[in-house]
């Protein structure tokens, strides 16, 4: 049952919220893929009962009666929030993230929190302190990251919707590798309050579902102006679900010129070419755009993101909450040993890089330069969008890869985000959806839209999904 069917049955009183939650929890208990860090049977059942008892209040809400899994980066009041780290293994947040609250108000029931790369730093979900997640299509492969658990959860049909966050591709890349649909909204559409920060200027929460419909409904719930987040933007009358049925007519869609030069695998390129014919079949016009300058984005990203991360993660010092190295004699050793033991290698590596690029004498050469590249990329996108309504490209260079394979080669791993990072640098919305299969493994395609153009992204993806069935495949 997909999201739309499940919600329909709740609304028709054919499946109660409690029954939906029980069914989800049963599957979660049998999970062999290490998708979850914690599940909350008691709270989930009592919340489901609450929604059933107040059926009339919830029946028209976007997520009425549907179980949901939240990425363990969102704070949940009274329940553990680990961010995939030993540092927060026993941390109980005293408040709810705005996303968590919005999803509850929209009628969904949180059943579990999903595994993720530690502090959202990784592209394979292997940096999690709680172990790697397996790809539902092939258990020897990674699901992508950092929202690996969230993507695998929907892919394996344990819930029909889940939340993720995307700083450099952390929603779109695992969506592509797990064969589902995932959207990174425009920076500022979804509140960051209560979402543990990695790179504040790029972090953005977004929805996962099998299809554009589920993503639209979940985004309707997630998006809100939040005065607690100064980077949040006021948007009036958004209804993404409704916009799915709108007719935007024939679009100009930018496609990548000389795509073979980007180091993308043949299978991914083949899927891309097939999707282009689907787009023309839908009446859209394809216009080639030169993407080559955007590939410098990856260098900019790997300066800015570690820089912000080094500062954002300073608060984890063993003094106030979270892991503390015990028996230390002075404050310097408390800091050193708490952070040495509490953080994993990938996180420590990025903190060191970030500290370095912000240091006196290096700031201009790295951080300032990276900001210039970032601005250039924004300008480049603005140029593109003078001529096109959307840009279409593959989500990833290749399909899901084997566990442990790339972990030893950071450059190769970082390159994983080559095609997703530009949208984060520019703050643009982008959606990944399944657009092909090879060797029984999914491939993802990506549409990038204009600022706050989520309605067009979802509408176009929905139209594609009306005429294709890659999103209906199950592992």
């Amino acid at each position: 049952m997909n999201f739309k069917e499940l919600r329909g049955k709740f609304r028709a009183k054919k499946v109660s919220a409690k029954e939906a939650v029980e069914s989800s929890l049963e599957k979660i208990k049998d999970d062999k893929l290490n998708i979850f860090i914690n599940n909350f049977e008691k709270q989930a059942l009592s919340n489901a009962e609450y929604i059933d008892n107040n059926f009339d209040d919830f029946k028209d809400k976007p997520l009425s009666g549907v179980p949901i899994a939240h990425k363990d980066i969102f704070c949940t009041e009274g329940l553990p929030t680990t961010c995939g780290s030993k540092m927060l293994e026993n941390f109980i947040a005293p408040y709810d993230a705005t996303v968590v609250k919005n999803c509850f108000d929209a009628g969904s029931i949180m059943v579990a929190k999903t595994n993720m790369d530690e502090f959202a730093m990784g592209s394979s979900n292997e940096t999690s302190y709680f172990g790697a997640v397996s790809n539902p299509w092939n258990h020897n492969l990674v699901p992508g990251g950092s929202s690996g658990g969230a993507a695998a959860c929907v892919s394996a049909n344990l819930t029909t919707i889940s939340t993720g966050t995307d700083t450099g591709g952390s929603i779109r890349q695992p969506a592509a590798l797990c064969g589902i649909t995932g959207l990174k909204p425009t920076y500022g559409l979804v509140s960051r309050w209560g979402m543990i920060a990695f790179c504040s200027s790029m972090d953005q929460a977004g929805p996962f579902s099998k299809d554009a419909f589920g993503c639209a409904a979940l985004l309707d719930a997630m998006a809100s102006y939040d005065e607690k987040d100064s980077t949040s933007t006021k948007r009036d009358n958004i209804n993404f679900e409704k916009s799915l049925s709108k007719d935007f007519g024939s679009l100009n869609i930018g496609v990548i010129k000389n795509i073979e030069k980007l180091g993308i695998s043949e299978d991914v390129i083949n899927a891309y070419e097939t999707s282009k014919t689907v787009l023309t079949g839908l009446g859209h016009k394809l216009i080639e755009v030169d993407f080559s300058e955007l590939s410098s984005g990856i260098c900019s990203y790997y300066v800015i993101a570690p820089a912000e991360c080094s500062s954002n993660l300073s608060r984890f010092d063993g003094v106030k909450y979270g892991y503390r190295s015990e028996g230390e004699k002075d404050i310097a050793n408390l800091y050193m040993n708490t952070r040495s033991d509490g953080f994993g290698d990938e996180v420590k590596k990025r903190i060191l890089i970030g500290t370095h690029v912000l240091s006196a004498g290096f700031y201009d050469a790295y951080y300032l330069q990276a900001q210039k590249v970032r601005r250039m990329i924004k300008v480049k996108f603005e140029d593109f969008f003078k001529h096109v309504d959307l840009i279409f490209m593959p989500t990833t260079l290749d399909q899901a890869f084997e566990k442990n394979r790339k972990s030893d080669d950071p450059n190769r791993m970082y390159k994983e985000d080559l095609l997703t990072i530009p949208a984060n640098l520019a703050g643009l919305p982008a959606i990944s959806f399944p657009n092909g299969f090879k060797n029984n493994l999914p491939i993802g395609g990506q549409l990038i839209g204009k600022y706050f153009g989520e309605d067009l992204l979802l509408n176009t993806t929905n139209k594609i999904q009306e005429v294709t069935d890659w999103h209906k495949m199950t592992p």
């Binding site: 969102f74 704070c75 929030t81 961010c83 927060l88 941390f91 947040a93 005293p94 408040y95 993230a97 960051r192 309050w193 209560g194 979402m195 543990i196 920060a197 790179c199 504040s200 200027s201 005065e227 607690k228 987040d229 100064s230 980077t231 820089a307 912000e308 080094s310 500062s311 993660l313 300073s314 608060r315 984890f316 010092d317 003094v319 106030k320 909450y321 404050i331 800091y335 500290t355 912000l358 240091s359 006196a360 700031y363 951080y367």
Partner: protein
């Protein structure tokens, strides 16, 4: 370097001050927690002040308005766009591991204040959040942290190195204190830490083109200590340079008990704060309209008040200046003269009251004197209930106890004796007891008149109405 009277042993001190002022806002700079002093530890702490994972700062517009007021009062430029930066360092009372401050785009730039007729430039004033407080002396075996102060808004006012002596530094600091208290943006209480001062001190020869190497003295918390710390530092640097050694660029602490500055860290061990723009806060645009709305909301400044006092109360420039130096005293004066004689009140405030405040080194609101009581004191002088001399005693008493003036006078029988009959009796007794002097006076020794007045005052413990005593004595002795 025109003013050579600031030279010490031929050396020219060069001083710049960084003044941290705690702003009096309802809530903290980036959180909804209350901004208050003196509450129980860790009771004024929000999720944001704790630096919990996932929390975000939201700028308090009230603090921004107060920063703009200071800028307007010092003829400074108000930023069209101000940007907050993160200053990164680890300390247990800094929960986020960084302080949000303003480095390159402060709210206020290029201001100026006039101190004793000399212009001292203000390089910038920027908004930043205060840290919490580490308490090391409460328990033997551990240090504890109070986060009530964490996130309290500060305005850091950075002067140019325009100051040339320790006393000028104190005058500048007093001027800043006067401005912020007049604007009502801070209580300026140095002993509670709502105004703190770092001093950058170097020395040079008057003919030198470049400033000497400077030392920064941190966290000086009284006017007196500012003067002492700077003077100590000047002497220390002179000693070093006259021994042909080099002054090291470093941060020093002033020890008020030993009256000396001590090295805290040298440049080599200086923190690298890794400043960068805080991504959680968007650049804030400040429109001209907004600035004008703040200007309309501004309280009277010292010079304006002084002018008004001169025209409304007919005070001379000096008296008006002294009274308006402290806003609390100026307001006090206005309360007092609602019922009391203006010139007499001014005389007593400038003379006796100021003397007491200076002697005890406290501010008016810390004293037991209130305007109604003080006004009564002046009225009692005017209506001849007490003499000026007795009034001083009454003032001492209300200063010490806060008792009402009328009660002091009653309980101590301090009323002036103006009863003619009573005074006549006293005078007659005295004249009878001093026949020799009476005869001498009558035979031309005029100077003895003072002797008789003294005897009457002695007999009445100074309470006799002096005018009446003179009149009666002259009559009796003629």
């Amino acid at each position: 370097m025109a003013q050579n009277d600031t030279l010490i042993k031929g050396w020219q001190p060069v001083i710049g001050l960084e003044v941290h002022v705690q702003l009096m806002t309802n809530t903290k700079l980036f959180s909804p927690a209350k901004n208050q002093f003196g509450e129980d530890a860790n009771t004024l702490v929000d999720l944001i002040d704790l630096g919990l994972p996932g929390v975000l700062p939201v700028l308090n517009e009230g603090a921004m308005k107060q920063g703009i007021k200071f800028g307007l009062a010092t003829n400074a430029k108000i930023a069209e766009t101000m940007i907050f930066d993160r200053k990164n360092y680890f300390y247990p009372d800094l929960p986020k591991g960084y302080q949000i401050t303003q480095l390159h785009y402060p709210i206020v730039r290029d201001g100026v204040v006039e101190v004793n007729g000399k212009k001292i430039r203000i390089h910038q004033a920027h908004l930043e959040e205060d840290a919490g407080k580490s308490i090391h002396d409460k328990y033997d075996d551990k240090s504890v942290i109070d986060l009530n102060r964490s996130g309290v808004p500060l305005l850091e006012i950075v002067s140019e190195p325009d100051i040339r002596s320790a006393s000028e530094a104190v005058d500048y600091l007093k001027k800043i204190h006067q401005i912020i208290t007049y604007l009502d943006i801070s209580d300026g209480n140095m002993s509670q830490g709502s105004m703190r001062c770092d001093a950058n001190v170097s020395i040079m020869k008057p003919e030198d083109k470049e400033f000497g190497v400077r030392a920064e003295i941190k966290n000086i918390n009284s006017f007196k200590f500012v003067e002492k710390a700077i003077n100590f530092e000047i002497r220390r640097q002179i000693k070093i340079l006259e021994a042909n050694e080099a002054v090291e660029q470093e941060t020093r602490l002033y020890d008020s008990i030993k009256d000396e500055t001590r090295s805290m860290r040298t440049k080599e061990f200086a923190n690298d704060y890794r400043y960068f723009p805080c991504p959680d806060l968007v650049p804030t645009n400040i429109s001209k309209e907004f600035i004008e709305s703040v200007r309309k909301d501004m309280d009277e400044l010292p010079e304006e008040k002084q002018q008004r006092f001169m025209s409304i109360y007919n005070l001379n420039e000096y008296d008006a200046g002294v009274i308006c130096a402290d806003k609390k005293i100026a307001n006090f004066f206005e309360e007092v003269v609602k019922d009391a004689d203006i010139q007499l009140a001014a005389k007593w405030i400038i003379g006796e009251l100021n003397a007491l405040l200076n002697k005890h080194d406290i501010s008016l609101d810390e004293s037991k004197i209130d305007a109604t009581n003080f006004s009564e004191l002046i009225q009692k002088i005017t209506d001849n209930t007490i003499s000026g001399k007795i009034a001083k005693e009454v003032l001492e008493e209300i200063w010490a106890t806060g008792t009402k003036v009328s009660e002091v006078i009653d309980s101590k029988g301090m009323q002036q004796i103006s009863d003619e009959g009573e005074l006549e009796n006293i005078i007659e007794t005295i004249l009878n007891e001093n026949n020799n002097q009476v005869n001498a006076y009558r035979s031309g020794k005029d100077k003895l008149f003072g002797f008789f007045v003294g005897q009457v005052m002695k007999a009445t413990q100074g309470k006799a109405n002096p005018g009446l005593v003179n009149e009666l004595l002259k009559k009796k002795l003629s």
